[in-house]
């Protein structure tokens, strides 16, 4: 019970975000098929110096640190040398574009959309970013997974312990299992 009370915000988020993702077509009707656009937040000349032969990853981390935006990100280097850093912020994703030719750094933020926020939350996982908070989040996701499996097993055990509910419970369980098996074979 206490585990469920602790994890209920995660379950709430996963349920609501799945509803939004299952009805993505409604949001496409509302916003159109393209992802949310970016809006200019600031533009400045970046006067920092990068180490010689710095790879895009190191440049991205330095740019993010100087902009006060450290956290999970992806980085690409275009053929003209421009570095594009996508900061995977849950609430406000940002794009940093650094042009070495004129040393300008443009910071743009993504326009807010409720369904996109929920989808970002739902898909956030993994231990690969190297940031401590992301690792903690990944641990919490693993805890949710373990809790779900525990609830399945403990729920079955609690049901079996209540003799008065065995018959109706067995009907509910068999109906669910039967439907699931049907889908497994047909879809």
């Amino acid at each position: 019970m206490y585990l469920a009370l602790f994890l209920f915000p995660w379950m709430l988020m996963y349920a609501v975000s799945t509803l939004a993702m299952n009805h993505r077509a409604l949001f496409v009707d509302l916003y159109g098929p393209d992802p949310a656009p970016f809006q200019m937040e600031r533009k400045a000349v970046y006067d920092g110096v990068f180490p010689e032969h710095a790879n895009p990853g190191a440049i991205a981390r330095q740019l993010l640190a100087s902009a006060g935006l450290q956290g999970a990100h992806g980085v690409t280097r275009r053929t003209d040398g421009t570095i594009v850093v996508n900061r995977h912020d849950l609430l406000t994703p940002r794009r940093l574009t650094y042009s070495p030719a004129d040393r300008t750094l443009i910071v743009e933020k993504m326009s807010p959309r409720g369904n996109a926020f929920l989808e970002r939350f739902h898909r956030r996982r993994g231990y690969a970013t190297g940031y401590r908070l992301d690792t903690l989040w990944a641990v919490s996701v693993d805890l949710v997974i373990a809790a779900m499996l525990f609830w399945v097993l403990s729920g079955l055990w609690m049901w079996w312990e209540m003799k008065a509910t065995r018959a109706v419970g067995a009907s509910a369980l068999l109906t669910g299992v039967g439907l699931f098996v049907l889908y497994l074979g047909a879809l």
Binding site: L12, M13, N22, H23, A25, L136, A172, Y183
Partner: protein, 201 residues
Amino acid sequence: MTFSHINRRVHLYLGLALLPWLFMYGVSSVPFAHNQFFNQRDKTKGLPDWTLRSARPLERPVPESAAALRSFGAVLLTESGIEGTNFGAYRQSPTQLHVYSYTFWKSTRLTYFVDQKRVVVEDRRFRWDQFLTGMHARGGFEQEGFLQNSWSVVVDLVCLGILTWIASGLYMWWALPDQRRWGWLAIAAGTAAFAVFTVRL
């Protein structure tokens, strides 16, 4: 019969009926959360992901609109002997169109190389982790067919079921005065941790 009794029964029977889905979503989250592990493990086998099924010449204009592209994809699949599966058609580049056909057990990729005027059909090697993640990610109402859309209705039911478990679970906890103090602590700790993740991630 009291409300408390009905609440407990709804919590239980809903859980039992939707148990296969809760189990599936739990187990299938493992390869999602640890995809690097599963990919590296599979890489050591040294097996190709895709196997060529057929290749044939084709010269046909590719439509622009999403709806027409989907119809075009359906025709290409039918001509390749693939029917009745879920599928999606995607314009990969000006010279390449991908049509993915998939069931829980089998995935096929059809690639139309517009500039080379040929269509290649490939089957994906079965992997348990991809079987699970495929089932986890299945949803939406874009496919044709009653059974396909009914799966998505069940996905909605599972979501509503989880919301019902949260509400009925909170009610059951509140009905146990001895558990309230520790319960409040668990709720406060979970909510605070979640709020920090929301703002700082």
